[in-house]
């Protein structure tokens, strides 16, 4: 890969695209597949790394806002390239109430499928997707690495889905 390609910012999948299916580990002996959630909205939050301060804020915020997401019957999935054991420790420490999936092997494959992989640093980008009950991406947002995108955009997208 040439250096120009490696340094290019990720170009994430746009609304209207079919959300690529995946199966990733949520615990050492359990997996989660996107297709498990057909029939209800899914929020996917790709993030660069467990433990980094902004991620902590962002994932902790989603745990706190969970009752609002549940009003839309939405499932929230966090995805990074961290291994499952660090995910478990991080989730326990931050009292997260939704699965963190490990895009570990082959590294970043799911992040790449969503255009949310930063080859330069070998991490997922900070990207959000709201997927409708038929598996179509209806909203997506790429945030700068250091900026917590919050929950507002997700809630607005879920409201729009409900009205549609």
């Amino acid at each position: 890969m040439s250096s120009t390609v490696r340094n290019k910012p990720p170009s994430i999948l746009k609304p209207g695209s079919e959300a690529p299916d995946f199966t990733l580990k949520s615990t050492p002996d359990q997996t989660v597949s996107l297709r498990d959630f057909l029939g209800r909205p899914v929020v996917i939050a790709f993030f660069p790394a467990d433990w980094s301060p902004v991620c902590t804020d962002q994932m902790g915020l989603y745990a706190q806002v969970m009752p609002q997401f549940k009003k839309f019957n939405a499932e929230v999935l966090g995805i990074s390239v961290d291994g499952i054991w660090t995910h478990l420790a991080f989730a326990k420490d931050r009292k997260l109430n939704f699965p963190l999936l490990s895009d570990f092997e082959p590294k970043g494959a799911v992040s790449r499928a969503y255009g949310a992989y930063q080859a330069r640093v070998g991490e997922s980008a900070r990207a959000l997707f709201v997927i409708d009950e038929r598996g179509i991406i209806r909203w997506s947002l790429l945030s700068p690495d250091g900026i917590n995108p919050g929950a507002d955009g997700i809630l607005s997208a879920l409201e729009k889905l409900r009205r549609a």
Partner: protein, 184 residues
Amino acid sequence: MTQKYKSPRLTLPAGERDHFEGPSDAPVVLVEYGDYQCPYCGAAYPIVKKIQKNLGKRLRFVFRNFPITNLHPQAQWAAETAEAAGAQGKFWELHDFLYEHQSSLGDEGFFARYERALKLDLAKLKDEVAQHVHLTRIEEDYMSGIRSGVNGTPTFFINGSRYDGYPEFGPLVSALEEAEKQST
């Protein structure tokens, strides 16, 4: 549409529903979303006081609740207590008391100490906290924060725009004075 990131604005403007200090015609309005158990809010508390002293009547300060209950077990109780004191006309007294005694929040005897200090009707206050009388207002504060890009505490808004700088005296005063210039 795939959207580009932009710095958020306050979706629920500061108004009469809010707890405020400073005149209604102040050229600068500083809104804080805070959690009484959050150490960063505790650190920001004396800074805000100093800023209020410094800017005087040029500033209106508003405090809204953003209790991070999954990390701070005392935050919800503290927020409800401050609101219940507010119903007795003593919101700011209790707000200040909570931040000034943050390390002993929720200890045995905490109630007794602020009762003595603030001369509140303690039975009424305890009853309102137990009945969650002020919960709706706290939830309204919280949701207005979520919808305005509050992602942690403390988060400040200056004349409706989220302040993304450091919550330190110098940078905050510069940003407030900049907003003042733009508003006149």
